[in-house]
Chain length 252, copies 3
C-alpha cells in the first residue's frame, strides 16, 4: 500500500525500500511466512516488515525481533516472521511494540501496517534501539509456525504441497537432495501420486526440457522441488491443494 | 505506469516517489478524489499528481494548485483534486498548465499523465515557481466535486456508500462521532437498512470482534464508518452500490 | 518481482530503479519487445533489463548489448531486446553473459532475471565494463524479431494488430502519416475491415471526440494508430487478435 511508503518517507525520505511482494493471499499467514523466508537470502541486511494479520485490532502482540545475522523483523506475533528468523540465525532479542511510542497516532483498529509496523520499522532504520521501540519479550515465547514434516527413504519421498504460484507451479517441502537419495538423476521418469492418483513426471532442470503439457519435477528458484506442467497449470490439472501429501518414487 | 517514473527520473534522478495507488476504477473521478483525500495526511508535504481523466485530450483544463499547507496538487480540472485541497488548507493559488512550457513534446492526445502532469510536477519539485508552470487562474473557478450530504439525529443516521474496497468493505460518509450521537457504544447491535432491506450488525472496533460471516460496523483506517462482513464481502452480500443510502439506527 | 530490486540494492543501494511494466503476458516475447521499444524514449539513458524468457534454463544465450546512443540492454537472446536497440542507434557491442562472473551463485534453472540479468545489470550500473560481464559476440549474430510489414497506397492502408492494451485498445503497425497519405483529415469517417467484417470508424484525436460506444481511430500515446471504442473494448467487440490484418480506407 502506497501510504506505507509515504509513512517511511516521512521519517527517512531517501531510504531504499524494496517491496518483496503484495501477492500474498488474504489472511494466509503461512504463505507469507514461506515467501519471506525464501526471499530473505536476497535481501540486504536491514529492517524487514511482514504484515499478514487476520487478528489485527485484537490482543495479538506486535513484534520487532533482532535475528542472529543482524536483520530486524517487524510484524504481528502470529508466526509470519518465524520461518525468516529461523533462517536468519534465530531470534536473539524481541520487543512487544503493541504500545510503542513510535506508533502513528491515532492508531486505527484495522491498519497496523501503516500505524504500527511501518512507523516502528522506519524509526529502527533511522537508528533507534530495539529497546526504545517496545517492551522486552522472551524470544522463546514467540509464536512459531508449524509445518508438516516430509520423510524420505530409499524407495519413496513423501512430502507436501507448500506453495502454489500464480502459474500453478506447486512447491513441495522436499529438495533436490531428497531425489538424489532416491537414486534419481536428471532425466529420470518418476511416479508422482497426489490425492490417490498416480502420474508420470520427468525429473529435469527446467521447463524447456520436456514437451509442452508434460508434467515435470524440478528444483525451483528457491531451492525446493516443485511440480509443474510446461506451459500449463499443474495445480489445476492435478487438483492439488495446499498441504496435500505428494508421493514421489522412482520408476524402475 | 512506469514511464511516468522514468519522466520524473529524467528531471530529478534521485527524488523519492510514492505511488499512492494504481487501483482507481477507470474514469472514476470521485473514487480518485476520495482516495487522495484519505491518503493526504500520510503523505509528506510535496507535489502530488492525480490522474483520473476521462476528458483527456479535450478542452478541460490542466491544473497545478498550491494549497494552504504548502502542498502542490497537479491534475485535470475535473474535481479529482478538490477534496484534497479542501483538506490541505484550501486552494490558495492555481495555474492552468494546459499549455505549460514544461510539457513533454510532442504532447499525445491521450496520455497527459506522462506528457503534461508528471513533467510539470517534476519541474515544480526541482524548484520551478508555480507561475512559471502555467497561466494564473482564480482558485474560485476550479471545479469542485459534489458529494451527497449525510444527516444524523438522535434516532437515525442517514448516510451513503462512498467507497467499496477490494474486499467489499463499504465506506460511508459518516464517522464514529455520528454513532456516538445515536447513543451507541462499542458492542451495541445496530440496524442497517440498505435498498429496502434491514439487517442487524454490531458496532465494533475490528473484524475479529464478531464471528465469521457476521456483519459489522466499524471505524475504518481512514476515519470513516464502514460496513463489512468478517471474512466476507459486504458489498456483494448486501448488494450495495456507490451512492446508495444507508440508514443506521440503534436497536433498543 | 521484489527480489530483483533487492539484488540491485545489494550492489547499489541508492540507485534509481524504474519498473517499466510487469504486465507482459507470459512468454509473449514480442509484446515485451514492443513495449520496451515504445517506452525507450522516455527512459533516461542507463542499463535496461527485459526478461520475457520462455527458454530459460536451456542453451539460449544471455546478452548485454551496448546501443549507439549509450544505453545498455540486458536480457535473453530471443529478440526481446531487438526492437529497442533498433530505436537506440543499433547494437554496437555485445557480450554473452550466460556464464558471467557477475551471476548470483547458485544460478537457478528458472529465474535468470534474479540470478543472471539483474546482477549483471547492477554491476554494469556500478561501473563495470561490458567486456568484464561476458564473452564478446558479433552483434550481427543476435536474434532479431520479425514483425509483419504494413503497406499503404493512396486508397488503402493495410496493417496489423500489434498490441492490445488492458482496455482493449488495439495498436496497429501504422502511423498518423499513413492516414494522411490516404488523404484523411481529423474528423473523417473511415472504413475499418477486420476478419472479413467492415465497420465505420471516425479518425479523431481522442476518445472524447466521439459518442460513447463509437469506434474511433486515433494516434495513441506511443505514436501508433490505434482502434478503440469510447468507454468500450474494441478488441472484444471486433474480435481482433494479434497479427490480424486491419484494412483502413477512406469513405468517399
Amino acid at each position: 500500500m502506497g501510504v506505507c511508503h509515504a509513512v517511511i518517507r516521512s521519517v527517512r525520505p531517501g531510504v531504499p525500500i524494496v517491496d518483496v511482494t503484495h501477492g500474498i493471499a488474504r489472511h494466509d499467514v503461512r504463505q507469507g511466512a514461506i515467501v519471506l523466508r525464501n526471499a530473505l537470502p536476497y535481501l540486504p541486511v536491514g529492517v524487514h516488515v511482514a504484515v499478514v494479520d487476520p487478528q489485527v485490532g485484537t490482543e495479538r502482540r506486535a513484534l520487532a525481533v533482532r535475528c542472529g545475522d543482524g536483520r530486524i523483523l517487524v510484524g504481528p506475533d502470529n508466526g509470519v516472521l518465524s520461518l525468516a528468523w529461523e533462517r536468519a540465525g534465530g531470534a536473539v532479542e524481541a520487543v512487544d511494540i503493541s504500545r510503542s511510542s513510535f506508533r502513528l497516532e491515532p492508531v486505527s483498529a484495522t491498519f497496523h501496517g501503516r500505524d504500527v509496523f511501518v512507523p516502528v520499522a522506519a524509526r529502527l532504520v533511522a537508528g533507534a534501539e530495539l529497546l526504545e521501540a517496545g517492551e522486552p519479550l522472551d524470544p522463546a515465547e514467540l509464536r512459531v509456525l508449524d509445518l508438516p514434516t516430509p520423510s524420505v527413504d530409499s524407495s519413496l519421498a513423501l512430502g507436501h504441497a507448500l506453495l502454489v504460484d500464480r502459474y500453478g507451479n506447486v512447491s513441495l517441502d522436499m529438495g533436490h537432495s531428497d531425489l538424489l537419495a532416491l537414486g534419481l538423476t536428471l532425466g529420470a521418469p518418476v511416479s508422482v501420486a497426489v490425492r490417490g492418483e498416480e502420474r508420470e513426471a520427468v525429473f529435469v532442470q527446467t521447463f524447456a526440457d520436456v514437451p509442452e503439457h508434460a508434467l515435470l519435477l524440478y528444483e525451483d528458484a528457491w531451492g525446493s522441488l516443485a511440480l509443474a506442467v510446461n506451459r500449463g497449470d499443474a495445480a489445476a490439472e492435478l487438483g492439488v491443494e495446499i498441504d496435500d501429501e505428494v508421493r514421489v518414487a522412482p520408476i524402475r
